[in-house]
Symmetry: C2
Subunit: 177 residues, 2 copies
């Protein structure tokens, strides 16, 4: 990894996709930007996918990341919700690969281990650690915090952690709740 | 609808996404092209999404459709498969909307009704009717046949049928098996 590498973390969702941009400088991680892209539930599915895809393309154009890390989502108890979440995640990854960004995937367990130190951390603990690690004055929104945590996991783990994501792997992880 | 309108039909899937291009000329439908984009199961999910996304962008660039119609997929008994199918469909719709194509969605029931005349048609009946309606010398591959059938449904229904797909609708249909 280069001495300074800009990483875009993504927490995909159809209603709201969180994004977080950090820069890894040596062993330090520095906050650059974060937020979320929302799609209106009254819009058609193609319109919602267009909103997410275009929104992420704009984030990439604005912040110019060199690598991307996407959280591996867990299947929902409701199959329809699983299908919608899958479509949102497919749109997010499409935006990343169409910008020719290398994409790593991390389970919620891997993200929690990297950020908090163990896999059973509560959502609030992850938010607190993201704030502390990035020296933020306040808590980011939950979706943005999850996206930043995913980017931090990628920065901390680097290539070694990325290699846990083997080719053709199936979804194993959980979604931060 | 114009006197000649080129329609791209899509039958989304992660392993294989079928596509079919037809032209509506007055009341006639004319075959232009069809095929499928396959992704290797040994590749990582981002790589597979890149293959589908780039493949569809190439299809769009080559055949220059003016409208798109995507089959509404049914949730699978296996939640992991549903999530993978969702991600493939999200990638397909991303490719369409990023090319600024208007995207209509049809359930398998609507497609069968439009092509065969009733919603309980078997897969083979759909293939036969696609062959007959488009005057094809042989049967297209199942994925391509489904994609062509979806394009025919859009051509036959036109704006009226398209309006059945109301904003913000949820998945209701089934996947042609």
């Amino acid at each position: 990894m280069q001495s300074a590498c800009r990483i875009l973390g993504i927490d995909p969702g159809l209603r709201s996709t969180g994004f977080g941009v950090i820069e890894k400088r040596g062993s330090a991680v520095v906050y650059i930007a974060s937020g979320c892209i929302r799609s209106e539930s009254a819009a058609s599915l193609p319109q919602r996918i267009e909103t997410l895809f275009d929104g992420l393309k704009e984030v990439i154009a604005t912040w110019q990341p060199q690598q991307a890390a996407v959280e591996i989502v867990f299947v929902n108890v409701n199959p329809q919700s699983t299908l919608l979440l899958g479509q949102a995640r497919g749109a997010a990854i499409s935006a990343l690969v169409s910008a020719r960004l290398p994409v790593a995937e991390y389970t919620a367990l891997q993200v929690k281990q990297a950020v908090v130190g163990h896999g059973k951390a509560a959502k609030e603990q992850v938010q607190q650690m993201v704030m502390r690690l990035l020296r933020l004055p306040g808590a980011p929104s939950p979706d943005a915090a999850d996206a930043l945590a995913c980017a931090i996991a990628h920065a901390h783990g680097g290539q070694g952690m990325g290699s846990l994501v083997t080719a053709g792997r199936r979804v194993k992880g959980g979604r931060l709740m």
